[in-house]
């Protein structure tokens, strides 16, 4: 079977982590072609051609494909979809924006956030914030799906696939990019970090959130947050972990001042080791924690920064 994987290209660069993990799922389905689309995508295409097990790379480089606007990207993919039985992308916000649009253009359902490939038609995906796992069998001719990267191993380099250029589709001209507000940071990326330290409402203020960041830096970790911490302005939106934020599964997840609502657990309960620091011994977060510490975070976190 011929599988098309949409590479995660941001400002001309291929996200090797997200793309490499989705590739692991794609390889279970057949021969994989990777599409790299963007205003600049040549370098991304070259990077994709080196991934292990990729048989071909398509590069679509066109100004209309910049910033991954949904309409031109979906039109491009729908135009070449006929050659493939499966069209996959890692579950990033870019892919969640564009993949359902592609599916509708093809008159097929989308399979969102797939966590396991059973066979060519059958997949698993979490529903109800991960409180249930559904096994579903698609009856559609083309399977369009996003892949939850936290559950698939990373495919690394080792290939040398041929690269071919393709043209963009006609731009419907429905939307234009205005600006990106991206926080620059030297910390590891949240969804691929080996260690994540997250703060919740218990942290109490934006100023005190610096303590969470300090602990993260001590551990070489990415910083996460609960929805309450983001809503309260302690942390930016892209740090939100959970059902409607990012899904992470690091080796170590440290939850500080987070109660453990199901919507938060949905984004972190597959972490290998979970540590919870909370002053309330009844907090539900302790039910998923490997190590729970009942303590005031304002004394425990500085002490931890000191001693670790």
């Amino acid at each position: 079977m011929a599988v098309l994987l949409i590479g995660e290209v941001t400002n001309g660069e291929l996200n090797l982590d997200a793309t490499g993990k989705a590739l692991t799922a794609a390889k279970q389905l057949g021969e994989v072609t990777v599409l790299c689309a963007g205003a600049s995508a040549t370098a991304a295409g070259e990077a994709a051609s080196k991934l292990d097990g990729v048989s071909k790379v398509l590069v679509a480089e066109d100004p209309t494909l910049g910033h991954r606007l949904a309409e031109p990207t979906a039109a491009l993919v729908a135009g070449i979809a006929g050659d493939y039985s499966h069209i996959l992308a890692p579950s990033t916000t870019d892919a969640k924006n564009v993949m359902p649009r592609i599916a509708a253009l093809l008159d097929v359902m989308i399979l969102s956030d797939v966590t396991a490939v059973i066979d060519a038609d059958t997949f698993e995906r979490p529903i109800y914030a991960g409180n249930a796992i559904q096994t579903i069998k698609s009856t559609d001719a083309t399977k369009v799906m996003t892949i939850r990267t936290s559950t698939f191993e990373l495919t690394g380099e080792g290939g040398s696939a041929p690269v071919e250029s393709i043209g963009a589709a006609a731009d419907p001209g429905l939307s234009e990019w205005v600006e990106d507000k991206v926080a620059e940071s030297d910390r590891p990326e949240l969804t691929s970090a080996g260690v994540v330290v997250s703060g919740g409402r218990g942290v109490g203020s934006e100023e005190d959130f610096a303590m969470i960041e300090k602990l993260a830096d001590k551990l070489g970790a990415a910083v996460g947050a609960s929805r309450a911490a983001v809503d309260s302005g302690y942390a930016p939106n892209d740090w939100q972990v959970g059902q409607t934020g990012k899904v992470v599964a690091p080796n170590l997840y440290v939850a500080v001042g987070i109660s453990g609502a199901i919507q938060h657990l949905a984004g972190m309960k597959d972490s290998k080791i979970i540590v919870a620091i909370n002053k309330d011994e009844e907090a539900p977060i302790f039910q998923v924690a490997d190590y729970g510490l009942v303590a005031d975070l304002f004394t425990a976190v500085p002490e931890l920064i000191d001693k670790i």
């Binding site: 892209d238 080791i273 490997d290 670790i308």
Partner: protein, 252 residues
Amino acid sequence: MKVLVPVKRVIDYNVKVRVKADGTGVDLANVKMSMNPFDEIAVEQAIRLKEAGTADEVVAVSIGVKQSQETLRTALAMGADRAILIVAADDVHTDIEPLAVAKLLKAVIDEEQPGLVLAGKQAIDNDMNATGQMLSALLGWSQATFASEVAIDGDHATVTREVDGGLQTIKVKMPAIVTVDLRLNEPRYASLPNIMKAKKKPLDEKTPADYGVNVAARLEIVKTSEPEARKAGEMVTSVDDLVSKLKEAGAV
């Protein structure tokens, strides 16, 4: 401008979900149901547009079982003007897929001709995050998903979107489909007088056949199972204890 808001009846976000022992799904009989939280945000935004004079009518639409009437009444009590219920299922356990929902919404939109659709980013039951994007594709309209700010300026809307890297602002042509994220606004509670008033607001009832749409599922549910449980952890007594346990486990 008319604004259309699709609202879904879902399990209340506070309810503990139980997977049925026979693996056929999640138990929804006699559990508290509410409006999908993202849809409350969409309704709120639509009402604010009306209050600001940008919109002149807010129409709420729901697709599902007959009981979705209650969800529509909530939208009306919040301030929507009119509601349309498309009864597409008899059993509360039947979920109509986003593709079918989008086709029905397209049919409603062809009749109603709204200038803007405000939908939720994601339904918290199926966690699909798909309907708005699909609807936009079927209509050939512009789409702006995961909105945390929306400004409408004549024939364009400027929308700030919550994305993986931070925030992205785009400008889309109207008519547009906007899906709303958590930070867009804080939805109001309906007041008692407005709940009473909502009972008299028009609520039309339709079926998929009225629109000639086939709602048969494309995804066959083979089974529904419990996620793997985590094994019980332990409580540590001090930071020192925690540090030594983490070192022992090779975590730091």
